[in-house]
């Protein structure tokens, strides 16, 4: 995959745009340099001091996906938690329910995701108690996005997909993106999953076909991606609420 690295800087002379294609040859393009606002801004002050080194590698390996079809919403994910080259835990639940009609798939830093899922669950429950009704999925996504905004630029790394009734699928990430759509896949294995989903996904799939498609997409991603693997968790959300087929149940249940 080609990597584009723009060499910017405060100089007004033109700089080179380096592009590596798969053969390893360096292609140079002549592009005017963009003035970097980094010299004027202090966003780096928001980052914590880097003198304390983490005792483990931070890694974002996962494959999660969600899509909408005639029978509701499907959410699927692998169950491997990796820390660099180590499989820290082979049976992690990356999809957790927020309430009876909303589940969230998580990717990014495991600790951050667990924390923010709990925070989201708390806020949604508080809203329900205060206003006697459930907050909509759109509202939930907006609330989460606004809660994450102060941490933009820090090491917080969460990429959550809210899957719920009424048939909605919203992707929220700690960079600030909030996207509503019909199909999302997140994580290091997501390109492989998109390859399977984009070809076979149709609105008119039956429940069994949709479940098996989701399972196959995650499986193919786990086959190719080193940081995804082990089992496949699957949730199906309908008007009656969510039903799940967890591949691994037991001591690591966090719900």
């Amino acid at each position: 995959l080609p990597l584009i690295c723009v060499c910017g800087g405060l100089s007004y002379t033109a700089t080179f745009l380096h592009m590596n294609d798969n053969s390893g040859t360096l292609l140079n393009f002549f592009m005017p340099s963009f003035l970097s606002s980094a010299a004027f801004t202090c966003r780096s002050l928001a980052k914590p001091s880097l003198t304390v080194r983490r005792p483990f590698n931070l890694s974002h390996g996962t494959t999660t996906l969600g899509f909408i079809f005639q029978g509701g919403v499907i959410a699927a994910a692998d169950t491997r938690a990796s820390a660099g080259g180590l499989v820290a835990c082979p049976f992690v639940h990356k999809i957790s329910p927020i309430h009876s009609h909303l589940v969230v798939t998580s990717s990014g830093s495991g600790a951050d995701c667990m924390l923010w899922e709990r925070i989201l669950r708390r806020e949604i429950r508080l809203y329900q108690l205060r206003h006697s009704r459930c907050l909509s999925i759109c509202g939930t996504a907006k609330l989460l996005s606004f809660m994450l905004h102060p941490f933009k630029g820090t090491d917080v790394c969460v990429a959550l997909t809210l899957c719920g009734w009424d048939k909605e699928l919203i992707y929220v990430c700690s960079d600030g993106a909030r996207l509503q759509g019909d199909i999302f896949s997140v994580g290091s294995g997501s390109p492989y999953a998109y390859g399977i989903l984009d070809g076979s996904l149709r609105w008119s799939l039956s429940n069994e076909e949709a479940i098996s498609l989701a399972r196959e997409a995650v499986f193919r991603a786990t086959h190719r991606d080193a940081y995804s693997g082990n089992h496949v968790d699957l949730f199906h959300i309908t008007a009656q609420g969510w039903t799940n087929t967890l591949s691994a149940v037991g001591m690591f249940d966090t719900v």
Binding site: L1, F40, T41, R43, D175, R178, L179, G181, F184
Partner: protein, 199 residues
């Protein structure tokens, strides 16, 4: 990676934006709308860093609407543009600057149509035509060559299609479709999406 373009005519402003929402190498959405309606006759087109775009644009949008509620009349496009620039400038030297590039297009009942170019360094320029993104390098010369101040709506749309075709031919990234809108005395009108033909 993203592209915005605006063309001002004698009594209208034509604006277009691509529809891709990307995350590193993946197109997460193919039908993403980058235009924010500030008021009945003002549109804000916003591209840039992932969360900053929506946060900043919605902040400006709600403030413009608040002004209308408080004072009973709407901000003019020029006032809205200067307000936006002021906010960008204030945040620029703070701990959380907004990295967004904007085009503000509007129609004022007294001054007529206006197109304002703003970038992440909080510069502001009123221009007859403008573009943002890598695609601007390829299309600004086309606009320079073919633009005239009294162009009709059909000519403006043809000019826009010329720019989109050039992007389709020479830009390495695939931008499959573009939303197009026109602002005139009657308000904001949606036009048909432009999908450049295969090379």
């Amino acid at each position: 990676m993203e592209y915005l373009i605006g063309i001002q005519g004698p009594d209208f402003v034509l604006v277009a934006a691509d529809n891709v929402a990307a995350s590193s190498i993946i197109q997460m959405k193919h039908d993403y709308d980058k235009m924010f309606k500030l008021s009945e006759k003002i549109l804000l087109l916003c591209v840039g860093e992932a969360g900053d775009t929506v946060q900043f644009a919605e902040y400006i949008q709600k403030n413009v609407q608040l002004y209308k509620m408080r004072n009973g009349y709407e901000l003019s496009p020029s006032a809205a543009a200067n307000f936006t620039r002021k906010n960008l400038a204030e945040y620029l030297r703070s701990r959380t600057p907004y990295h967004v590039n904007l085009l503000l297009a509007g129609y004022d009942d007294t001054d007529g149509p206006g197109l304002y170019y703003m970038d992440y360094m909080s510069s502001l320029a009123k221009a007859p035509f403008a573009a943002h993104g890598y695609g601007a390098f390829l299309t600004l010369s086309i606009l320079d060559r073919h633009y005239k101040p009294d162009l009709t709506r059909e000519e403006a749309l043809d000019l826009l299609k010329m720019c989109v075709e050039e992007l389709n031919r020479r830009f390495i990234l695939n931008l499959p479709s573009f939303s197009v809108r026109v602002i005139d005395r009657e308000g904001i009108h949606d036009l048909e999406k432009i999908t450049p033909s295969t090379k």
